[in-house]
């Protein structure tokens, strides 16, 4: 208790200095948490991917489609449970800034493959019977104020023309990691329209989404599918959904790495600031440490005083930083909802913030703690007066 009392009083001896140091740590831990959350949001597709889902695409590039006829053949491959097809639509809603992902899907197998998209049964039924119907995510509907029955006009870019859809269902995510900002409509509607407007582009599929019974068979099933279409006009590349998502992220990997580095640089900077604060405090108190040692307290007691003070200040700053992270992330998430549909602080990020505060506290105290513990009593006492 006595030791704790001494640590607490020492920590708040220079209130302005302590307050500024705590403020610095709060900002650093908050910025660290925010940047880590941005990195996490980048990987949300990877995190949400299932080990029992495979993606088959054109081996040359994602921009080249695959023939519709592949679907039946894929369905016959051993281990394949469900096959669904999807095309990236890339339409513009009113203005180019209003970006959200739009997919043409064959609804029944698609929603079987993705049970995390929870569509109310009566709404799903309404969607299935309306060829111009669409299913939108809860967040997306919230952003644009869409309700069931609303007409949504999209200007096609990949598939030119003016397209109009009717909101028939609004899905909710099974958990916080599920993207609730997507827009789905019937693949058949897209295909029928293309048959009339651009027949050469009809019966083409962007990617096949495949459900398999056993995750361990993913590699073998992928190999079988790709072997089936080898030496064809459209060779395939089949990979797990996770690998497919990581492929997207690798295109922007430099940005993610830069954000990660910056987040750790912030911690290193505040560590240096904190170390300077502790060095100043310990230097000022050398006569007191010498007095304590003269009275019979050992070097370990003095070292604990320095480490305790450093950990208290870092812990306080870290705790306030973590508390501030949640509302700031929520605010940032709502502002950036179009770019980051899933934006929440993970427990991993919270653990990293706690670890960062601890590392700041411990690292900052190493040198001043050792110096205080080593101080020669006579030298320390001489510093007075």
């Amino acid at each position: 208790m006595y030791l704790l009392k001494l640590i607490v009083r020492n920590a708040f001896r220079h209130r302005l200095r302590t307050a500024l140091t705590v403020l610095g740590i709060v900002i650093a831990v908050l910025a660290f948490g925010l940047l880590q959350t941005v990195v996490g949001a980048w990987y949300v597709g990877v995190e949400a991917s299932s080990s029992t889902r495979l993606v088959t695409r054109n081996a040359i590039s994602l921009v080249f489609p695959l023939p519709l006829t592949y679907e039946q053949r894929i369905r016959q491959v051993e281990g394949v449970r469900i096959v669904s097809r999807t095309n990236w639509f890339g339409g513009v809603y009113i203005d180019k800034r209003n970006f959200f992902p739009q997919f043409a899907i064959d609804a029944e197998p698609y929603f079987q493959l993705y049970p995390e998209f929870r569509v109310p049964p009566e709404q799903l039924k309404a969607f299935l019977v309306d060829r111009k119907g669409c299913v939108v995510g809860r967040k997306l509907a919230q952003i644009y104020g869409w309700k069931l029955g609303d007409a949504i006009p999209l200007r096609g870019t990949i598939f030119p023309g003016n397209w109009e859809f009717v909101v028939r269902a609004i899905y909710e995510g099974a958990d916080a990691k599920t993207d609730e900002s997507q827009f789905f409509f019937h693949w058949m509607f897209l295909n029928e329209t293309l048959k009339q407007s651009a027949p050469r582009r009809a019966n083409q599929v962007g990617i096949y989404l495949i459900g398999i019974a056993n995750a361990e068979a993913a590699a073998e099933t992928s190999r079988r599918i790709d072997a089936m279409f080898r030496n064809s006009l459209a060779e395939t590349l089949t990979e797990t959904e996770k690998a497919f998502q990581l492929g997207f992220i690798s295109m922007t990997e430099a940005i993610v790495v830069a954000i990660r580095i910056v987040s750790f640089v912030i911690i290193v900077i505040i560590m240096a600031v904190m170390a300077n604060t502790m060095a100043m405090s310990a230097r000022e108190r050398l006569p007191e440490y010498a007095t304590l040692k003269a009275l019979g307290f050992g070097p370990q007691f003095v070292r604990v005083l320095v480490f305790g003070e450093s950990l208290l200040i870092a812990g306080l700053g870290g705790a306030l930083g973590i508390v501030a992270t949640l509302p700031v992330v929520n605010m940032f998430g709502s502002v950036m909802a179009k770019l980051f549909p899933v934006f929440h602080v993970s427990t991993g990020t919270l653990a990293l913030q706690v670890a960062a505060a601890l590392v700041i506290g411990i690292t900052a105290a190493i040198v001043p703690g050792a110096r205080a513990a080593r101080i020669q009593i006579v030298e320390g006492l001489r510093a007075i007066g």
Binding site: K5, E288, A294, L295, G296, F297, P299, L381, I384, G385
Partner: protein, 239 residues
């Protein structure tokens, strides 16, 4: 009260030197000194004469280069750092020129500080602290912090801290050096009481003739050498 047959401090051929820039600088040379239990000794001498160094050696906060240094029957020069720390906690009471109180602790807490190493219960500690504060007449100021006390009051708190563990020896380094005449007289009066009424052995370094006159015995040092009375008088005349 004084038992001159039992030396509290026995010093024979004590030397102390420092290494500075590759050179060895002698501070104390061939010191022989005996202090009996219950004595009040004043160490005097000009600046740089080595009196504070000698006091530090006796208090166990510095180590001699050579010679014998026995305090209360124990050769403290042979103790390790941690043994020396334990020994100081049990046997030495310190009174410093600038009081050396911890500014974040109240007068009460400062006096209690050395007791934290004794394993006494909270209740026993409280009794000890109140008795010590009563002795220095600061009971009413016990919740005050050093910054709220005058220099004299701070030194009285330091004296209470020095006696709280009932040490065998009290060392005082210029205890009145930072005080006005009235406060200095109060502090010296207290030290006199500690010596006369409680039989405490006190070794005090001072420049102040008035302070030295409170001691029962004067010991003079000059250029690291102990002087006898005649030599001390000669040095005084010369200076």
């Amino acid at each position: 009260m004084n038992d001159s047959a039992v030396p509290m401090v026995l010093i024979e051929g004590l030397t102390k030197s420092y290494r500075r820039g590759g050179q060895i600088v002698p501070v104390l040379t061939g010191i022989n000194l005996t202090v009996a239990a219950g004595e009040f000794v004043a160490l005097m001498g000009p600046s740089g004469s080595g009196k504070s160094t000698l006091l530090n050696l006796i208090a166990g906060i510095d180590k001699p280069t050579g010679g014998t240094l026995i305090v209360d029957g124990l050769d403290i020069a042979t103790l390790s750092e941690s043994e020396l720390a334990d020994w100081r906690a049990r046997n030495v009471g310190f009174i410093f020129q600038f009081y050396n109180l911890l500014p974040v602790l109240s007068a009460y807490e400062n006096v209690e500080l050395p007791l934290m190493l004794t394993g006494l219960s909270g209740k026993a500690r409280r009794e000890h602290v109140l008795t010590a504060l009563q002795m220095v007449d600061l009971t009413e100021r016990m919740s005050h912090y050093p910054s709220e006390l005058s220099g004299g009051q701070q030194q009285r708190v330091a004296i209470a801290r020095a006696i709280i563990t009932d040490p065998t020896i009290i060392v005082a380094d210029e205890p009145t050096g930072d005080l006005d005449r009235v406060s200095a007289a109060e502090v010296l009066g207290l030290m006199d009481r500690l010596n006369r009424e409680l039989g405490k052995t006190i070794i005090m370094v001072t420049h102040d003739q008035r302070a030295a006159s409170q001691a029962r015995r004067l010991v003079h040092l000059d250029k690291g050498v102990l002087l006898d009375n005649e030599m001390a008088e000669a040095v005084k005349r010369d200076s």
